[in-house]
């Protein structure tokens, strides 16, 4: 697998406040990277760097070997915890927006056969995330989980090089969250995505990711806490799970239990 994103000695500073210091890492294509860490340890800044919402103060971020422009573009999809979907558009229109922006620079809308083609593609993607029967619902009519499914479909329809998730399941209740975990794992496998996910939930980070990055401050000055920034303090590659499915995982666990019983 090739390197998709590389960080070369990246620093993020606001005035004399250092958020991220001396970050050096590579993200492989097709990996599922979970970012964990305490609040204020630069998790969001890290995501904003990849997103292009802000640029590094020092250092370089490369995507496929070329420096990343500090502006959001269609090669990076994103799902935020909230406000990721447009409240004034139905699910279908939310999803075709990305295609409309690309193909109709002036009007921002498609007509005729181009529109039908876009709608067909969007419908397929919405079915893939389980919203095949909710094409005409507005976000206000959807539950939190459905809105996040829509946000994922909306991002994936652009076939981004990397999908960024900013605590995407943080606002959902546990049952729905489990469904969403299964969904994102399936999408990651089916569409061979590269995913970078920021989360507060350590369990989620380990169960979904192929690699867990913990961001935190390496040093701490009690008199000037803002003078040290965060960096990757732990970088844990987990076992490859590309070919595994959650069902097989469960079966494996069952086998272990039976074995123990038999030994007894």
């Amino acid at each position: 697998m090739s390197t998709l994103l590389s960080f070369r000695d990246v620093w993020v500073e606001y005035g004399d406040r250092i958020i991220i210091e001396k970050l050096d890492l590579d993200i492989e294509e097709g990996s599922f990277v979970s970012i964990v860490g305490p609040s204020g340890a630069g998790k969001s800044s890290f995501l904003r760097l990849i997103l292009g919402q802000e640029g590094p103060s020092r250092g370089q971020i490369l995507m496929d070997g070329t420096p990343l422009t500090p502006e959001c573009g269609p090669d990076r999809g994103v799902v935020f915890q909230r406000y990721s979907v447009f409240p004034h558009l139905s699910a279908l229109r939310n999803t075709i927006l990305g295609m409309e922006c690309e193909k109709a620079p002036l009007m921002g809308r498609l007509f005729g056969s181009a529109k039908r083609a876009a709608e067909a593609e969007a419908t397929e993607m919405l079915s893939a995330v389980g919203l095949g029967h909710s094409l005409d619902l507005y976000p206000a009519q959807m539950s939190g989980g459905m809105q996040q499914r829509l946000a994922i479909a909306q991002a994936l329809v652009k076939r981004p090089r990397v999908l960024l998730l900013d605590e995407p399941f943080g606002a959902l209740d546990p049952g729905i969250r489990a469904d969403m975990h299964a969904l994102i794992r399936r999408l990651w496998r089916d569409y061979s995505l590269t995913i970078v996910m920021v989360t507060h939930d350590i369990r989620e980070a380990f169960s979904l990711g192929t690699r867990v990055l913990a961001l935190d401050k390496r040093r701490h000055d009690p008199h000037a806490p803002h003078r040290f920034g965060a960096t990757a303090v732990y970088d844990l590659p987990l076992r490859k799970r590309v070919d595994e499915t959650p069902e097989e995982n469960a079966a494996e666990l069952d086998n272990i239990t039976i074995d123990v019983n038999r030994n007894n």
């Binding site: 997103l51 919402q53 573009g73 990076r76 935020f80 406000y83 447009f86 922006c101 991002a155």
Partner: protein, 271 residues
């Protein structure tokens, strides 16, 4: 049961809502009747009969000088001024407000100017308008526009600027340019707010219309009220005021209906 928990049904609301209005009318008629008992020629509180009589002359009898039905000519002239003024203001609010709200460099350049214009009392500009634009229709429409457009522009700009940052970012990751963010994300979400801004501007717009008509005009609802004031013609003034109130309410209801009809997503219509 506590008063804060007491919900009023549909029928009850109509009944309760009508009660104070009917009471006010009753008080008026009792007072007018008592004044007329003392002085049958009283002009200050005319009886409904006298109002109907003088209004029917304005409604149905052509004016000797112009040959027009005065009441309808007044209504048409006023509504035309109001409509043009509101139309121009709405268009300005949409174009300027959207650019100010969505584009930081435009906001930095023109924000202070709009704020500056907004704090000038529009009536203080009326002499300038009359001097610069003459006493015709232009000055009256200009007064309405100067009076309400800055407030509407600032309202729309603030609303657009307050759209969640996540939405703007998301649109860009979907490949949207500045222009596409404006027309596909900001504009549709500003529309319900725009109708709301028109509704709230209707009151001030009527104030500026009546002011302009009172000072220099030869036809219009405000002109008529200030003309007949010289003869203490309360029998014309009161029906005219009631008519203006009715027109204002109709516009308000129409705008609310339009907003619910065109933008159901903005009115929390769930499941």
């Amino acid at each position: 049961m506590r008063l804060v928990n007491r919900q009023v049904g549909r029928g009850g609301r109509v009944l309760l809502g009508a009660a104070p209005i009917l009471l006010l009318l009753l008080v008026y008629i009792v007072m007018a009747a008592s004044r007329h008992a003392v002085n049958p020629a009283d002009k200050i509180l005319p009886l409904p009969g006298a109002m109907a009589e003088s209004m029917s002359a304005l409604l149905f009898v052509p004016d000797q000088l112009t040959g027009q039905l005065v009441f309808w000519a007044d209504t048409l002239a006023s509504l035309q001024r109001l409509g043009i003024g509101l139309g121009i203001s709405t268009l300005m609010a949409l174009v300027v407000g959207l650019s100010l709200g969505a584009l930081p460099p435009v906001r930095a350049t023109f924000g202070p100017l709009v704020t500056g214009i907004a704090v000038i009392p529009p009536i203080a500009l009326l002499p300038i308008l009359f001097i610069a634009l003459g006493l015709g229709e232009t000055a009256k429409v200009a007064l309405i526009v100067i009076g309400i457009a800055p407030v509407m522009i600032r309202d729309i700009a603030a609303h657009v600027a307050a759209l969640p940052r996540e939405q703007i970012i998301k649109a860009q990751t979907l490949g949207a340019s500045s222009w596409q963010v404006m027309i596909r994300v900001a504009l549709p979400q500003a529309m319900p707010r725009l109708l709301q801004a028109i509704r709230l501007s209707l009151g001030p717009a009527w104030v500026f219309l009546i002011s302009a008509e009172a000072i220099a005009s030869d036809v219009g609802l405000g002109y008529r009220i200030f003309l007949v004031r010289r003869y203490l013609s309360m029998d014309v003034i009161l029906p005219y005021v009631a008519w203006i109130a009715l027109l204002a309410i109709l516009m308000d209801v129409a705008l609310t209906f339009l907003s619910h009809r065109l933008f159901p997503w903005a009115h929390g219509e769930s499941h």
